[in-house]
């Protein structure tokens, strides 16, 4: 079981903010890749806004997962929470910011899929779109919001079906979180975890 969280002041900025964020999540946010509003770390939440490339860095998912599992009594272990965050980051980046379908959308043609990915990441307009990660604590629910800067989806949550070449990310997310919801036209995924603190 985790220790009781230590309260943090709400008005951190500059070096104090960077140190608190690094201490809380292990994340070192390079200003060159952090975009939008400055990050914050508080007793009841953390928020960082990153470029698409940085959002895909596995250390981001691990840092955010560690913050959640060490400060709140989540049932899933850190590695599973990190897996969920990685999936959310890939969805936000690939389907949201880069506007690409999954591998199935390319008929299972891996070469075509990877070429489209390279092309999209080379396009500054799409590659530099931000991804926001924010943990918010309320009562016995800890919620992670992951928001992209893409065009959204008409039907972001298709029903889960059997194992296929695509759709496994959402299946993983749904199985790890207690609640899953899309909002803002499909641009924001919110996943909730029941917790004791």
């Amino acid at each position: 079981m985790n220790d009781t969280p230590t309260p943090l002041p709400n008005d951190l900025s500059g070096t104090a903010l960077e140190e608190a964020l690094a201490q809380a999540t292990g994340l070192v946010i390079d200003p060159a890749v952090a975009v939008g509003k400055p990050p914050y770390v508080r007793a009841n939440g953390v928020r960082v806004v990153l470029s698409s490339r940085r959002a895909l860095d596995p250390s981001v998912a691990l840092g955010l997962a560690r913050w959640a599992t060490t400060r709140h009594r989540l049932v899933p272990p850190t590695e599973l929470v990190a897996t969920l965050i990685r999936e959310a980051a890939v969805n936000a980046t690939v389907h949201g910011n880069l506007g690409l379908p999954g591998l199935q959308g390319f008929g299972g043609d891996l070469d075509a899929y990877l070429s489209a990915m390279d092309e999209a990441l080379a396009c500054p307009d799409r590659a530099t779109r931000p991804v926001l990660f924010a943990w918010r604590s309320g009562g016995r629910l800890l919620t992670l919001h992951v928001r992209d800067g893409g065009n959204g989806f008409a039907s972001p949550l298709p029903p889960a079906v059997g194992p296929t070449v695509s759709g496994n990310g959402l299946r993983l997310i749904r199985s790890i979180a207690d609640r899953t919801r899309h909002s803002q036209g499909g641009r924001c995924l919110s996943v909730g975890f029941r917790c004791d603190a």
Binding site: P58, E87, G108, L110, P163, V165, N168, R171
Partner: protein, 103 residues
């Protein structure tokens, strides 16, 4: 951690041992795995997962892709020795419906 693979052949077929992180960032690396495995034209393929640290949905998709390619030539694929954290993910996505999975 980069995804690496080694191939060994014995009487039962071709074994592909994967090591490292089998994630979105390693899609390109797995393209070489698919090329090497299909070029060997094996009768049966065993994918040894014991050296994997991470597996995500991109890795799962790649495994389905490899299975689909091999099935076209009548080759059976088996997933072997998943570490506990990988085994949990395979269970979540119900991969037993697609693959034979050996401990």
């Amino acid at each position: 951690m980069a995804l690496t693979h080694t191939l060994t052949t014995d009487a039962r077929g071709l074994t592909v041992a994967l090591t490292g992180d089998f994630t979105f960032a390693e899609n390109g690396s797995f393209r070489r795995v698919v090329e090497d495995v299909t070029a060997a034209k094996p009768n049966a393929v065993f994918v040894d997962l014991s050296g994997l640290r991470l597996l995500d949905s991109a890795g799962l998709s790649m495994l389905v892709l490899l299975r689909d390619r091999l099935m076209k030539s009548g080759t059976h694929i088996t997933l072997c020795r998943p570490p506990s954290q990988i085994e949990r993910i395979l269970e979540v996505v119900d991969f037993k419906k697609l693959f034979t999975i050996l401990p």
